[in-house]
């Protein structure tokens, strides 16, 4: 009797329509995909020839000190532009998990700590970092000048190469950024549901699995996950301490955003510097006004949730292996671990087994139809 009553209750609950406020909350996660908007700080953003050059440089191992590393070594297309490893490994083991590059053009800050304010300036860090590609402006410039094909393509985008190596490095990362801007995920089951709901298309709404629908109700309701995972990309682009340990290893901590802001403000490639192509510096508002606070210690960027199922393991240090572990983390989070002077947002959700599965089902419904990246057939030699 109790079993049948439970089934009936579940059926009634699932048949309930979302409230107007819930529909508005769901609608705010679309439409998808967003229209392309060129990055004013990068004069070659959206330029097809720059995208072509950037794609070649993204996969180019000769940019690295040991000739073995490239951007694509950690950002694999078939893994939603990450690598499946707990922590990235270039020339040496890196401290953090490789973030996905999917939809990266929609971000405001780049890197887990937001130490960079443009996609192109972010690309400089792994190229120069001794643990990642260990390269130099001189090495990058030499390749762009000496390799006949790359040199030809560079000239088509930027004109004759400047004498200063650093300028060529910046041009190279602007081309790489132009390519990275093309990494957009496709539509998901959630997007079809969201659009059907907005249009009042009952048949379309009915196609969305019940489990994902219940998980969505938790996501925008009791879970308040959409406090930080907002908008079409499911991120507010900012930073939070979610109770993940700071320690990289015994005696060594990762200060996260607090160090990221310091690095950002000290970075001569930031948007307040001479390499910003946006003369009006309309893109630099965040950098001008960002403020360093004690609470930034241990904060890391809120990641997008799109194609999340493809980007395991999770969190800035990759310590959670599955989506279920992520859900369990928020279900059992310890308020004592969070900053006492910080946000009173996170509290243990104490989800039941079915609720946890539903939330995972919703997160999995944010996955698109599959890897839509196809490396373009290499064009004929540049002339």
């Amino acid at each position: 009797m109790r079993f049948w009553f439970g089934l009936l209750l579940a059926a009634v609950q699932s048949a309930q329509a979302f409230s107007d406020a819930e529909v508005r909350a769901i609608a705010s996660h679309g439409p998808w995909p967003p229209a392309f908007r060129a990055d004013p700080s990068n004069r070659v953003s959206g330029n097809p020839q720059a995208i072509d050059l950037g794609e070649r440089l993204f996969f180019e191992r000769r940019l690295s000190a040991d000739g073995e590393q490239s951007c694509s070594r950690c950002h694999l297309p078939e893994r939603n532009w990450t690598d499946g490893e707990q922590r990235a490994r270039g020339i040496a083991l890196v401290d953090r998990n490789t973030p996905s590059l999917s939809n990266v053009r929609l971000q405001r800050w780049f890197g887990w700590d937001g130490a960079h304010d443009s996609l192109w300036s972010q690309a400089i860090r792994p190229i120069l970092d001794a643990k990642e590609m260990g390269s130099s402006a001189a090495r990058v410039a030499k390749l762009l000048r000496a390799d006949a094909d790359l040199s030809c393509r560079y000239r088509k985008v930027f004109g004759p190469p400047a004498a200063q190596d650093e300028k060529l490095l910046v041009d190279a990362v602007k081309a790489i950024a132009a390519f990275q801007e093309t990494m957009t995920s496709g539509r998901s089951a959630f997007d079809d549901f969201r659009d059907a709901l907005v249009k009042g298309d009952k048949a379309g709404v009915a196609n969305y699995p019940e489990s994902a629908r219940r998980g969505l109700a938790i996501f925008i309701g009791r879970g308040s996950c959409n406090t930080c995972h907002v908008g079409p990309a499911f991120t507010n682009g900012e930073f939070h301490d979610t109770g993940i340990p700071f320690f990289i290893e015994p005696g060594r901590v990762d200060p996260g955003r607090r160090e990221g802001i310091k690095k950002l403000l000290a970075d001569r490639f930031n948007l307040l510097g001479p390499y910003n192509d946006d003369r009006k510096q309309s893109t630099a508002t965040g950098t001008k006004h960002v403020v360093l606070e004690h609470r930034n210690f241990g904060e890391f960027k809120v990641p997008s949730l799109r194609n999340l199922a493809l980007t395991a393991p999770y969190m800035h240090n990759g310590r959670l292996e599955t989506l279920r572990e992520v859900v369990d983390h928020y279900s059992n989070i310890s308020p004592d671990r969070l900053h006492s002077d910080g946000e009173a947002i996170l509290k243990p959700l104490k989800l039941g087994e079915g609720e946890s599965k539903d939330l995972v089902a919703f997160l999995e419904s944010l996955q698109d139809g599959g890897n839509n990246y196809r490396r373009v057939a290499l064009a004929a030699d540049c002339r």
Binding site: T227, V230, N236, K288, H289
Partner: protein
Amino acid sequence: MKRWLLLVLLAPAAQACELPGGPVQSINSANVAIAYRMAPLRVGEHFAVEFAVCPAPDSVTLDAWMPDHRHGMNYKPAVAALGGGRYRAEGLMFHMPGRWELVFEVRAGGRTERLAQSVRLE
């Protein structure tokens, strides 16, 4: 004479404040009136606030916080005086939906007054 005195006593201590250029919202206290205008807000997008303070103060700052979350913005706005008691604050951003509070701190005649306005963001 009696009529003048009565009018003064009935009038609000802070007179209505004007901000040319379209509809405004206002906050008043016994001593200060503020008229302000801002574009429609969206979570995670920078915005500016234009405002006028009456009577014109010695200085004014604008900040915002989420009382329920006990945190402020991740950005420090800059307030530029435009003259005649008018100002423009830039660099604000509400990075979460929910209830925020805009807080104006007005300094005049050696006193500081704090005027707050709730803003709910979906």
